[in-house]
Symmetry: C2
Subunit: 596 residues, 2 copies
Amino acid sequence: MPIYRAPVEDTLFVLRDVLGYERYNNLPGFAETPEVLEAVLGESARLAETDMHPLNRTGDVEGCARHEDGSVTTPKGFKKAYRQYREGGWVGLAAPVEHGGQGLPYTLHNAVSEYMVSANMALMMYPGLTQGAIATIITHGSDEQKARWLPNMVDGSWTATMNLTEPHCGTDLGLLRTRATPVGDGSYRISGQKIFISAGEHDLAENIVHLVLARIEGAPKGVKGISLFIVPKFIPDAAGNPVRRNTVACGSLEDKMGIHGNATCVMNYDDAEGHLLGEVNGGLKAMFTMMNEARLGVGLQGLAVAEAAYQNAAAYARDRLQGRSLSGAKAPDKPADPIIVHPDIRRKLMTMKAFNEAGRALLLWTAMQSDIAHRSPDEPDRQAADDLLGLLTPVVKGVLTDKGFDHAVMAQQVFGGHGYIEEHGMSQYVRDARIAMIYEGANGIQALDLVGRKLPLNGGRAVQAFFREVGEFCDENRSDETMAPYTKALKKGLNDLQAATLWLMQNGPRKPDNAGAASTEYMHLFGLVALGYMWGRMVKAAQARLAAGRDDAAFSQNKLVTGRYFMERVMPETTAQLTRISSGADTMMALPAEAF
Amino acid sequence: MPIYRAPVEDTLFVLRDVLGYERYNNLPGFAETPEVLEAVLGESARLAETDMHPLNRTGDVEGCARHEDGSVTTPKGFKKAYRQYREGGWVGLAAPVEHGGQGLPYTLHNAVSEYMVSANMALMMYPGLTQGAIATIITHGSDEQKARWLPNMVDGSWTATMNLTEPHCGTDLGLLRTRATPVGDGSYRISGQKIFISAGEHDLAENIVHLVLARIEGAPKGVKGISLFIVPKFIPDAAGNPVRRNTVACGSLEDKMGIHGNATCVMNYDDAEGHLLGEVNGGLKAMFTMMNEARLGVGLQGLAVAEAAYQNAAAYARDRLQGRSLSGAKAPDKPADPIIVHPDIRRKLMTMKAFNEAGRALLLWTAMQSDIAHRSPDEPDRQAADDLLGLLTPVVKGVLTDKGFDHAVMAQQVFGGHGYIEEHGMSQYVRDARIAMIYEGANGIQALDLVGRKLPLNGGRAVQAFFREVGEFCDENRSDETMAPYTKALKKGLNDLQAATLWLMQNGPRKPDNAGAASTEYMHLFGLVALGYMWGRMVKAAQARLAAGRDDAAFSQNKLVTGRYFMERVMPETTAQLTRISSGADTMMALPAEAF
């Protein structure tokens, strides 16, 4: 049976010591006292550990079942756990008070979501998708729509879905065929088939609000002709009570590699009643509101599953007796030493730990940009935060999920043969983590978003600000001898990233394939520098704690070691990435298609 | 439904043009004419494509079933396919003629096994394990034992297993508890439980020959006190007919992440009749004969599954229409371009292709060392080949399986969301490939074998010979301007590897954890140089074909491009690996166990 313990102390360190969370109390929602922050984290940890985590493996084994009438049953216990989550007010934690939410920081929502997703990713996908839908309705909905849909979504009695993909069209939404026909009363009839719809049908909520991309008859071809619609499973009356079944149904469930506890549905729309959300043919823009939120949420999944897998690997490595330390027996009274004494096991644990801790900081730092962008009274602050949020979102999604998967595999490897047996749960972490590299825009699309869209935006304003911030951090700390080893490695990485950026500026416009050929390596190079910067800030915060003589010196000392490991063992990759990027697209694109 | 086409032309290129297979006709078994070589490859390709491949996905879905009496049923169709394999003489292809084999080169056995394993890894594990058992009985068995066991194993009517692992003991065989009690008539009674026994029980063969590690009562503690036993499922009479059921039984089947078509058994030995194989307390040595053979076979699995996954990704990338090329529409008559036009898809395909082709060459080159070591009339040749075989075996096992898995994941990624759905078969490749990183010595153990055992052996004779060979290749070809871009990158990689080796020599003896901390990165650095060397030789062979004006210029041209890609995009990793290795063990080992 896998274990899981929410890393509350680490979250508090990132929020308070690294990000200075308590200094943001001029922002709405940030003004809670430290006790409330700790209480929220503690309560969410309890819910995750006690109520959600025990259902993770059983949910994987049981999976979801679709019945003849199209209804879907979730695994045993999911209903109760979802009700606890909902009744705890977790769905609307960061939603605006005027729509029934608690108005707490989005940063805090991310902090607690990490625990919940570590505990049970498949279960958390049901309310998880509601978040992006709430944001989309807030941003693009009319007042009437907000009043009609949001309260039940914010309190979790209704969940939501995103309906983009069709059998012949995933990344390229311009190809989509689902039709919307105006009825004349302001509503539309939606017809078509959508696939891969997470939480498309289930038994956890009273209603399901589908946000559906469709093409209004006569609309322009391509992405300029798609619009977004609200298509509820049950059509509510004026008081918000679901009264009439709409003609949308789950046609089948997909048989997937993982996230078995979540219902991935083929959804059939058969002249279903739909309501335009946002502008006619403005669907893509509206969808991006939802997607950007969801992309951070998927990056969080990469981190969360890797953290859970890591904790199990660490526990196994401390317990499993096998072989003797190369430097002499460490447990001479036992038949063998615990495998944590072996450097190659330690290498795996350190690699995972160094990534997870920096990944958590990066995720929360990014989420904080969202809070600042939406809540700060200061326009320049809002803009700077929005720039950074846009820049970091594809990095968080692409890098935390690629590495999260790699590290779930690494954690499984610590278990040897036992890792391959389903019973131990390590296979599930690998199978679950795998989807995060694919959905909400496969990671290759994240890389293209970063290189093709986010870098050149506003003349490179966002990326220049990021370079300036990291560069200044290095400069400010390089004369501090306790910081110098860290800033030196970080500065080297930053130089590689800046050189790669320059290469892109010089070679991308001339030949767009050069940008495409560089994109994935560039995203990972960017990720290394961003994570390295987080380590720089975490080490600085740990030094400050040590200097202040706090009584948890071991915690801070461990940060210094783990940060050093990241600089020594992980950052060297930046040089190789720069070399790859600079090799360009010519060789990559040289073969004819039939040569493969 | 996944596709598979055996890469016969590529195998022939490696065997003939690169390795000079036909120049070895002084070795027993190598004297077949080119027509026979092509016929063998062609026939095995047909068997793999037509009879084995269609059972791959169905075998995954159905899995194996254990019945109340302990018997195990394999998936539908496996019996017939195994019979075809057996009747085609494939089990004994490379086995000595005096034991009923065909005496053909082991190199050829590996070439055809790649096809079979690409087509159906789970099925091929049933006869696959028999190979190592045959080698072990040939090396360590008495004449009576050879006569009693080998003929039925070589003709495939009996299969074999390796029984090492116990619940508390995997890598550290010194901990094993299975007991062997001498009966007095020369035989032993074996009692204990073994786990993770591949092909431990099934319905494909008339008998199953278990090779079992056990401890004779009173034997020394640790690995010096373990002996190897032959424990058959049915005890044969003098004529070799299985007549009496032995007291060994499958207690349960493991529920695994993949290779569902293969029965992974818990085996219970309950005073089962066993016969000592090799010397008393000489079990480890005998087991290594089996393991070394098996390790090459597992490396082959890494390559084979990656090749099959790659072929499917390439086909999907040519077919799937999504988006437009960054350099302008390539299929303007269609609603979108095939995704193979996108650089990041191309990057994935090129990476997989460049690895697979070099991996095939490395595997066959290594297998050829086995043939030379066992069959050459020349003692220095035999020794040099045996050195190289020992050195390369952990590299082939560790690197081809780590990268094979990574590339199965990469191939799955090309499919986007469809790759996550079991129906398309890409998930199965990932799940199946995963085990190859674990069994026959987890890859961390391969790395330790390389660094701790193979490098220092005979004063570093093997590794020095390898460095000399690669260095001379670079020197000989650097003035050839068509070769220079390749040899320059290869030489750079070799320099990094030599620097890493020097670092190990200087820092390993002083502090053994330094060797352990470096081991995995060193193995991969070694693998890059070995694969890079294969690319150097393949490019040279392709240049020779072009110079000879052969009419398949496209084939050779493609090799030049793919080799260039490997040098530009893959080899840069060597620098990062050297930096990691040189950082040593101090930071890695600094944290106390409770910090994880």
